[in-house]
């Protein structure tokens, strides 16, 4: 019998419709409708996103998506940013490059985060992908300027080279000269992480001069202030610019040169850099301030009055990164001047000092929350907080999507009432219904987790440190937070019970990190046995976990879902708990 389909479009039509769907989540949903949609979708997916490079193998990705042009991979857990993941843990990109090099030479874009990238990988990229266009390495490490030279020399169509926050072995600044004289397609260059003292200014200048489509240029600290004018002169079309060191002997000719060149950059919307700033040279940027939407002053060690002057010139600011030198008074000015502010990050100038060195308190955050109606993302380091302030913040700014508060001293109580900050953070999750990311700090009991489990239904990522009293806290989160994808916990008294009771939940999440908690080795083994689609990895530099009693807590635990099975590139201090009920020593 011939089955008739009530509605049936030719594949090309469906493909055309799918081409309007860009987001991975939507694409994934589309692929689950029926078998034929799965097939059509997989052939026309052009961008692949892999949030955990160990969740799937390169071969599996290539098999399913035979024609992708762009891939994004993430490696190490987030806490690697704070040195909690020992060197050698993993996250190597080479196996991916090797597989992709063989599979298709038409790959155009590679975006990596927290991965180990070697010069060998970079050389393979340069050699294998003839139409390679975009390389974004975010918080990566393992490569040197030699690898960059290979990219520069071979990738004739390269548009974007972005090395944000990478650790690069700076052997020589001459890698820039490897861009051939005929190469003109650069649109975005971010080398702000490079350290090299001896910078090849003439090569840089020549590169900027011939790449007339350059829109983003972020220089590194080594580029002196008096060289910036020469570079900018050839790039008045820049939209995003990061200075090098922003200090020099005060000379009127250097100043007027710089001010003149900056004012001719009519498209400039974003500024960053400003290492070693001296206030004398700041007014040079005033002419461009009114158009600025993004300003990164997080390296600028200038005091509040200069910061205030600067910020008051920027009424259209949407994103500000700054040191706590801005103080409460500066944040009050920010609140009244920058009504379009969406994102604020305030970093500590003296994070290890015992006493506060600046007058930055919870008041600054309250002022900005009250005054900036579009504020939705905050990262704030301070030394004191109160429930009252948090409640005010939550009530006035229910549109927060990312709220990360770091009270510098662990377990700091409400400074007014000496109570835990449970109620304050409870208000944040209760009022901010679209909250996707939350970082907690201060003195917190299990109660705060009860609030989070009850209210934070859209929460995707939660970071917890030195908080809670018992397993109940962890249980509230795992059982209540429906949208949870990433959970990272350190130094909390959470143990076996909550983890084992919520084992199934872990398969709905990308990953769970627990370090310096109370999860026993026995529980890890059990979890590894029970849940074959989870990789349960114990990280312990003290030696094999079975050399200690089973009920002994493990040092660090990283659990993530995977369809690729246990990995095989683990260093000696990582053990995987798999279903063979034993310990696989790497």
């Amino acid at each position: 019998m011939h089955k008739k389909m009530a509605f049936s479009f030719p594949d090309e039509v469906l493909e055309h419709v799918f081409s309007f769907i860009q987001s991975d989540k939507d694409r994934n949903a589309v692929s689950m409708v029926c078998k034929s949609w799965y097939e059509i979708e997989r052939w026309c997916r052009r961008k692949v996103f892999v949030g955990n490079c160990y969740a799937v193998s390169p071969r599996m990705v290539i098999r399913r998506f035979p024609e992708f042009r762009s891939i994004e991979l993430k490696g190490k857990p987030h806490f690697a940013d704070f040195n909690l993941v020992p060197d050698g843990w993993g996250g190597y990109v080479f196996p991916w490059i090797a597989e992709m090099a063989g599979a298709y030479p038409w790959l155009e874009e590679i975006r990596l985060k927290r991965m180990v990238v070697t010069d060998e990988s970079l050389e393979l990229i340069a050699k294998s992908f003839k139409n390679f266009k975009v390389l974004v390495l975010s918080s990566c490490e393992g490569f040197s300027t030699d690898g960059l030279a290979a990219i520069a020399a071979s990738c004739k169509n390269l548009k974007e080279l972005d090395l944000r926050d990478c650790e690069v072995d700076d052997l020589s600044a001459h890698w820039l000269s490897h861009f051939p004289e005929t190469y003109t397609s650069l649109v975005s260059l971010n080398i702000s992480c490079l350290g090299s003292d001896e910078a090849s200014f003439s090569a840089l200048e020549r590169l900027v001069r011939r790449c007339t489509n350059l829109k983003t240029l972020r220089l590194n600290r080594a580029v002196p202030l008096d060289k910036i004018a020469n570079i900018l002169r050839h790039a008045p079309q820049l939209v995003e610019f990061g200075t090098g060191t922003y200090t020099a002997d005060v000379r009127p000719d250097v100043y007027s040169d710089l001010a003149g060149v900056l004012s001719s950059c009519k498209e400039l919307k974003s500024l960053s850099g400003f290492w070693d700033v001296i206030p004398d040279y700041l007014p040079a940027i005033y002419p461009v301030c009114s158009k600025l939407t993004s300003l990164n002053l997080s390296y600028a060690t200038i005091q509040s009055p200069d910061l205030i002057k600067l910020v008051s010139h920027c009424p259209n600011l949407q994103r500000l990164l700054v040191l706590d030198y801005i103080e409460d008074s500066g944040l009050e000015v920010l609140a009244s001047s920058c009504k379009d502010l969406q994102e604020l990050r305030v970093f500590p100038s003296d994070p290890f000092g015992a006493e506060p060195n600046v007058s930055l308190t919870e008041q600054g955050l309250v002022a900005v929350s009250l005054g900036c109606p579009k504020l939705q993302s905050v990262l704030y380091f301070c030394r004191r907080m109160s429930n009252e302030a948090l409640v005010t913040i939550a009530r006035s700014r229910p549109n927060f999507t990312r709220f990360r508060l770091c009270i510098i001293e662990p377990k700091t109580a409400d400074y007014l009432t000496l109570e835990p900050l449970d109620v304050g953070f409870g208000a944040i999750v209760q009022y901010c219904k679209d909250l996707r990311r939350l970082s907690l700090s201060g003195l917190l009991t299990d109660r705060v987790f009860e609030y989070i489990g009850t209210y934070a239904k859209k929460l995707e990522m939660l970071s917890v440190a030195f908080a809670g009293d018992s397993d109940l806290g962890l249980h509230h989160v795992l059982s209540g937070c429906e949208s949870l994808r990433k959970l990272e916990i350190r130094d909390c008294p959470f143990g076996d019970k909550a983890l084992l009771a919520n084992a199934a939940k872990l398969e709905t999440m990308r990953s769970l990190w627990m370090s310096s908690c109370a999860v026993s080795f026995a529980a890890c083994k059990l979890l590894g046995q029970k849940m074959p689609r989870l990789n349960v990895e114990v990280i312990d530099e003290r030696g094999p976990p079975d050399s200690r009693p089973e009920n002994c807590p493990v040092d660090k635990l990283y659990i993530y879902r995977s369809i690729a099975g246990p990995r095989f590139d683990m260093p000696p201090f990582v053990w995987t708990m798999d279903e063979d009920s034993g310990l696989r020593l790497s």
């Binding site: 806490f79 940013d81 704070f82 040195n83 909690l84 926050d165 992480c193 290492w275 070693d276 997080s298 390296y299 060690t301 970093f347 500590p348 100038s349 003296d350 994070p351 290890f352 015992a354 060195n357 380091f381 770091c406 510098i408 001293e409 662990p410 377990k411 109580a413 970082s439 003195l443 970071s463 440190a465 030195f466 018992s470 350190r490 130094d491 008294p493 143990g495 310096s516 908690c517 109370a518 026993s520 530099e541 003290r542 030696g543 200690r548 009693p549 009920n551 002994c552 807590p553 040092d555």
Partner: protein, 190 residues
């Protein structure tokens, strides 16, 4: 509830473990009074090793705070930036040794707190109880047995006062008050 460091058994692994902080301090920050650190919670509950140094923590004055690994959560490149700035001069001060010929011990002063030569010299005079003469470019310090000198970045001994103040404080490595014939030799026009 087992603590995270409660189960070292008898290997005393902590003695060999790498961590930040001064030797002899606990890896977890010692918090004062009512707040019980995770370490103390662990020790109270853990039966394996018994109580360690709780009493010590409660009665003794708090030791200098040891840094906790990865806390506060700041990227290394930010930490490096702050450190460099502190070392340079902002808030850190430029401390140099001051020696005086014949004095039993040296002193140290912060050059940053002075706005110019007159104040610096006045401070040194007060510190060592003597008088420096009048400065002139031609003749150095006339009118006393003493001459203030400093060692610069190149290792040469220079007379204080010849170069602009800003240049002086960035190039001065140490100060020496020369006395007697040596001093007079400097001031003598040849």
């Amino acid at each position: 509830m087992e603590g995270s460091v409660g189960c070292d058994n008898d290997l005393n692994l902590r003695a060999t473990e790498l961590r930040l902080g001064l030797p002899g301090t606990e890896p977890v920050s010692i918090v004062r009074s009512n707040k019980r650190s995770l370490q103390q919670v662990a020790d109270d509950d853990c039966g394996v090793n018994g109580c360690k140094s709780d009493d010590q923590n409660e009665t003794a004055p708090p030791p200098p705070k040891a840094q906790i690994v990865g806390w506060p959560p700041i990227r290394s490149y930010r930490k490096n930036n702050i450190q460099t700035k502190k070392n340079e001069s902002e808030g850190g001060g430029i401390y140099v040794k001051v020696s005086m010929d014949g004095a039993p011990y040296l002193r140290k002063i912060d050059l940053k707190i002075y706005s110019g030569y007159p104040e610096l010299l006045q401070a040194i005079e007060n510190m060592f109880k003597f008088t420096i003469g009048e400065y002139s470019e031609r003749e150095g310090y006339k009118g006393s047995d003493y001459a203030p000198t400093y060692e610069d970045k190149d290792g040469d001994w220079m007379l204080v006062g010849d170069v602009p103040w800003e240049m002086f404080i960035t190039s001065c490595k140490r100060l020496r008050i020369m006395k007697g014939s040596e001093a007079r030799g400097l001031g003598c026009g040849v």
